[in-house]
């Protein structure tokens, strides 16, 4: 999916307008509110391109979701259930080069819809 399709279909708010590239493609996703789960699973992906084409879907609106994405080279974070990040979190995303999006959809629903669009889940690579 193109980032612009994600934003359009799921009614996303783009919190980091200056970093937003509508043409960026997203092929993979992982969702969790526990950052160590994301760090554990996503760091087993060997191909760096995969992570760059991934989105981290989370309900965690703190700095730590941004930091986690940064450590993993994941470039897009999608906040679910209409959670609004505080200004310093948006600022950190900007500074870290992370595109920060928000949708009113729940984690399950937005994940299901993305899956239907062909976005693959990231699973543990041994």
């Amino acid at each position: 999916m193109k980032l612009s399709q994600i934003v359009h279909k799921f009614g996303c708010t783009v919190y980091t307008k200056d970093l937003y590239d509508p043409e960026k493609t997203i092929d993979f996703a992982f969702c969790s509110d526990l950052m160590s789960d994301a760090l554990m699973i996503m760091s087993t992906v060997k191909d760096g391109e995969t992570l760059r084409d991934s989105v981290l879907i989370t309900g965690l609106t703190t700095n730590q979701s941004i930091r986690t994405a940064e450590m993993l080279d994941v470039e897009v974070v999608l906040l679910v259930r209409g959670k609004i990040p505080a200004e310093p979190v948006i600022e950190l995303a900007r500074e870290s080069g992370i595109v920060l999006l928000g949708t009113n959809l729940t984690m399950f629903n937005v994940s299901g819809l993305m899956y239907q669009e062909g976005i693959q889940g990231i699973s543990l690579h041994k």
């Binding site: 950052m35 160590s36 760090l39 760091s43 989370t58 700095n63 730590q64 940064e70 450590m71 993993l72």
Partner: protein
């Protein structure tokens, strides 16, 4: 030759600053042109270790060094220490409180993740504090990529 030597103070329970040292480390390694894979392993391990000091300890320090072809990370904190290291290393074991869980941590995956990422890990702990030493080897194909 020493090509990196940085020292950071890690403040306990400061969830806004948590991860800052690891983030700076990552940016420095990027500037130094190492491979993505190496940088990712080092930053993920560093971040987990830094967060552990923030959420489980009374505060501590992080030291990042590169000497020749080895990256050394050292984390030292002022206690209370890990009573049973073997248990702490088990996936899913966590004593993290509600506040850290609300901040996205406490899955009990961190130490395991660190061990997997690093080429070498030494964890020493008693009631005075915990010392975590990590080593990452810089291979020829990790250099001058970025």
């Amino acid at each position: 030759m020493i090509t990196l030597d940085r020292h950071f103070v890690i403040v306990p329970n400061d969830y806004n600053e948590a991860g800052k040292a690891s983030s700076e480390l990552k940016r420095t390694l990027k500037r130094m042109g190492f491979s993505r894979d190496l940088i990712k392993r080092v930053s993920v391990a560093s971040y987990e270790a830094e967060i552990n000091i923030v959420i489980h300890s009374l505060g501590g320090t992080a030291d990042f060094k590169i000497i020749d072809d080895v990256i050394y990370l050292q984390f030292i904190d002022c206690g209370p220490g890990i009573p049973d290291i073997e248990l702490a290393m088990q996936e899913g074991f966590s004593t993290a409180n509600e506040v850290s869980r609300l901040n996205g941590f406490g899955a009990g995956m961190g130490l395991k993740n660190i061990k997997k990422a690093a080429d070498d890990m030494i964890l020493v702990s008693d009631c005075n504090g915990t010392v975590l030493k990590l080593k990452f080897y810089i291979r020829e194909d990790d250099k001058n990529v970025g």
